[in-house]
Assembly symmetry: D2
Homo-oligomer: 342 residues x 4
């Protein structure tokens, strides 16, 4: 059997470890043959492939990014897109099935292609940890470590200058990175998309930490929104025209916090450094195990499913389980941490 492997969506530490795991297990234990598909679904649609043997995956467990490239191409779009065209392209290259490593969009496409008759196996990838059906996804632990390390550094500056430091971390729709890095770094305020907070609540927690002699540390998910941001901004006597427009939410919160509390406040947007570079050991192990099990799943003909982590085990779940609703931070997990901010 000849299997194509693709990585799709934003890059994530551990993608290469998955690829290595699949190829080593598939070629050693099962005599499967692999080809690399370039730049996600684009390579499927355009028939852009590269060799993928033991040789290509040598030493990859610690290498960040993806040797296959990635893109956000939708396989149902374009002249050569759609299940029928793709089936022809795969047939022409004697590719029997696809392993698609990607997030919600990728897995939704994989689900649709699968229902349209293409053999697809999924591997969940989300640095934000926003997919249900897997306890944790690779890349998340690395991102939390990077954010935590950055916040450890910000804290010494805050302490020296008696400043409030605001760190904006990744998380468009879910607050897992902010919650975990916030707990790990000892943040005094954690702002996540799942938990609405007003600027006055945030400022009150900042002021409380400051009153106890601490340099307040605020972590905010990029996807957090303050209700009535513009109104809040002008209410505080800040010029809405001068409000940072293209900066992140961190840049927007900082002047409001400073205005209300009187505590000098600085924001840092961690940005892309959270998703690049060498994966943590946890992510290497998780990604490698997902890859090893993906090879097993292919041999078992478990198409239309994805491999996932449950407790300490790797299991298989249908695509649908991962789709639809996001894996948001449950309220009890946020409340659990509340004693740390108080």
């Amino acid at each position: 059997m000849k299997i194509g492997i693709l990585t799709s969506g934003g890059d994530c530490p551990g993608l290469n470890a998955v690829i290595r795991g699949v190829v080593l297990k598939g070629s050693t234990s099962y005599d499967l043959e692999f080809v690399g598909i370039r730049d996600g679904w684009r390579g499927v649609v355009e028939g852009d492939f590269m060799p993928l043997t033991r040789h290509e995956v040598k030493g990859l467990s610690k290498v960040g990014g993806t040797i296959l490239g990635t893109s956000r191409t939708n396989p149902y779009e374009g002249e050569r897109g759609g299940a029928e065209n793709i089936a022809k392209t795969l047939y022409g290259h004697k590719i029997d099935g696809i392993i698609a490593i990607g997030g919600e969009g990728t897995l939704a496409a994989a689900d649709r292609l699968s229902k349209d008759g293409i053999k697809v196996l999924g591997v969940p990838k989300t640095i934000d940890n926003d997919l249900r059906a897997t306890d944790y996804s690779f890349g998340f632990d690395t991102a939390v470590n990077i954010a935590t390390d950055a916040m450890d550094r910000l804290r010494t500056t805050g302490d020296s200058h008696q400043r409030c430091m605001v760190a904006e971390v990744m998380g468009r729709h879910v607050g897992w990175i902010a919650l975990h890095a916030g707990i790990a770094a000892g943040a005094h305020v954690i702002c996540i998309p799942e938990v609405p907070m007003s600027i006055d609540e945030i400022a009150a927690q900042v002021a409380s930490a400051h009153d106890r002699g601490r340099a307040p540390l605020v972590v905010v998910s990029e996807g957090f929104t303050l209700e009535g941001m513009d109104e809040a901004y002008s209410d505080k006597g800040l010029d809405a025209f001068n409000r940072p427009r293209l900066g992140g939410i961190g840049d927007q919160l900082a002047p409001m916090i400073e205005k209300i509390t009187g505590v000098e406040t600085r924001a840092t947007i961690l940005g892309h450094i959270q998703r690049g570079g060498s994966p943590s050991a946890f992510d290497r192990v998780l990604a490698t195990r997902l890859g090893l099990h993906a090879a097993d799943a292919i041999v078992d003909g478990a198409w239309g499913q994805m491999v996932a982590m449950k407790g300490t085990d790797i299991v298989r779940v249908p695509f649908e389980e991962a789709l639809g609703e996001l894996n948001t931070v449950p309220r009890y997990r946020y409340d659990e941490a509340a004693a740390l901010f108080g």
Copy 2:
């Protein structure tokens, strides 16, 4: 209520984060009072206590070691030991119960004291990850990260000199650190206490990696034993008298591997650096959550139990569940990784 907290056994990254979690939750949400018990059970037996308020736990989530000190004292030994004496000592200091953070020995003592009428709550601590009843224990992730980072470094030396590098990691009775660090770093041989291997099997895997042009990387748990080590040693024409005696198993394997394969081989014993220093973000989050839940458990009167991690949740389990059998690496987890060595 006034609660004493102790840390016992070998130190472990995350101990301070547990202490901080308990104190912040207990004092903020429940109005509990805490005292620190110095040097594990020694402090209980000798009545050696220290203040433990919010102030003392400030900024502790990232600090390695334990501010309370630790020892391997057995609370049933010595003139002032035993449940009856301890009950008196605690009563004299108005201490209502104890949170004992420790490994198997500590939890066994806690279980016995609990049955003898002392109010004890446990928090599992094992850098080796050898306790059943918790999916993972804090400290383990940090140790795996340190071992992985060290092996990444050893690999470049191996590659440059075409040498076999042997890394000895912690794990007296179980091979979790070797297994996870071995997967993460791409080791070619993983030797763990649970899986018997002969020197010839090890050498064969080394030779196979070398024949594929790789610099062989071997990871071995400190608790791994080669059956018939002395015989194996002299069989290979090595002088048993010159066999490293006080070095670790890594020091002993290296000359045998070199003798059999002809590949120059060097050993490194990672030792204590695996258990010190700042915890990884994963361990800080896990340890903090265990601490927060321990405070809840006290208020619920859940004495005689310990808090533990199951999947993504923190649960309570009776002491017995953690005791008796060790959490060894199951054979399927070792075999799962076999394709990586091949």
Copy 3:
């Protein structure tokens, strides 16, 4: 003799190591007594002091920030400012002299106070490495390491997405951090305040790297300015109104680079994480040595001077040598690296 120590200006990894070095050497070898001055010159002016013995400096060599606090107060301003008032305040507290650890502004104030009769010894502090009279200053090596690590991470994202990544690093007036981190991380374009470049030159280097199949990596000092930025912006058909206004130069370059080259481009502003956290070993050694020598200088009565690094030695130089002109990147150092970008 009783000596006050202050830290002034932006925080910097190594400040605590200097303080520790002074106190250990001064109290062990010379029987000097020390007091900590809170928040830079503010503490001198307001007479705000704290105890500073061996006990307070325990374990400080690896701790980021400054235990003394810092501020940007000018000692010649305010009702209680000025040399005469300060002399009275110091006399009242029986403080014989001051060690001032700070950057250009601090050392200029120290120079003036010194000429006005106050006994001041300087220790140069600049994370940007912009002070003449010292080969390197502590904090700089740590900042370069952090920036390099971040750029290593950005590179994997760039490679996976075939994007151009722009990293903005510290350096208001000089480009040392950008130059060193750019060399270390293998940047394809290095934009520093000392070397004027047009957007077309920058874009040409980006395009050249992209044409060679590389994901272009651009590092830019925060103080770099593009001549005619607004014109350049609208020339490229970008809406000047939408130009990021409060973001850094990195945010401003990215859309222009993307517009000209057609290569998707993302910016990351590293910001405050470059100046916080534990110092590198190089900075700990340098800072500690400066502290040790500062104690010697006091005993030698070398007031009006500062300690500095020359080659591998610590020397003394008059304040003036450090003032006036900045330590800019000489053109030959920039040109030396040009072959790396080509």
Copy 4:
């Protein structure tokens, strides 16, 4: 002109960065052609070469080890060795000159070959920093950072258990790594080859730190020798037969320290992890600059010399300057740090 490049002796972080610097500068600015010589002088003697273009050096500045391989072959030994044979081999492959990156042995051979008419340019490499004629050598800063990080970790274990921790670091003949890592990590005793100490002096410093409530931290160079070690051993009532024989000096000091002071003592031999892995930013910059200047030196015909670091500059020095005497730690540098231990 066609130039061969070789790396010789123990591997060292930064070797690849030198190679990259030479090749980028030489091929971009001067139209030089390069070939890689495999495994140091062995490749010269046996005529074992590999292609070395821009393509091969892509992304190498951060990669540990050497892509060329290394060995300890002496070019004057063996049937095909000696200047005359080598001249023929180089002539046969149209190689005009050699860049030899290596330590004292390598540079001594280069000097001799140079005097015998072979065109050789040297680049100094020593992780121990034991070469005169260069202020610092690449690899040293990385080693000091790794040793410091390890000692930071050991300290938390020492503190928790009130133990003395002994760290053995690299340094066969000189104590630079021990001195710098010891200063950086706040060691209480620094034992280096240049400064004789008796076991009683060491124990006295350990006891003094312990009496002040500190967990004593001892750093010892692998090349440190205690005068009369065996006598010292049996004098302390320790069984000389059980003395660790193949372990390092750290393993030997620990039981003696424990015996004399009564403080529980543990040793860790850091070993090979100090010389592998990704170089620090300092080492990447230094190594890259040496490479760039080596290309200049070739074009200038500066054969028989080596490039070296003086202050902040890269200069050229004749081979002899680097040979003969080692760059030992001068006594004033050791004494300078003494106040830190006291």
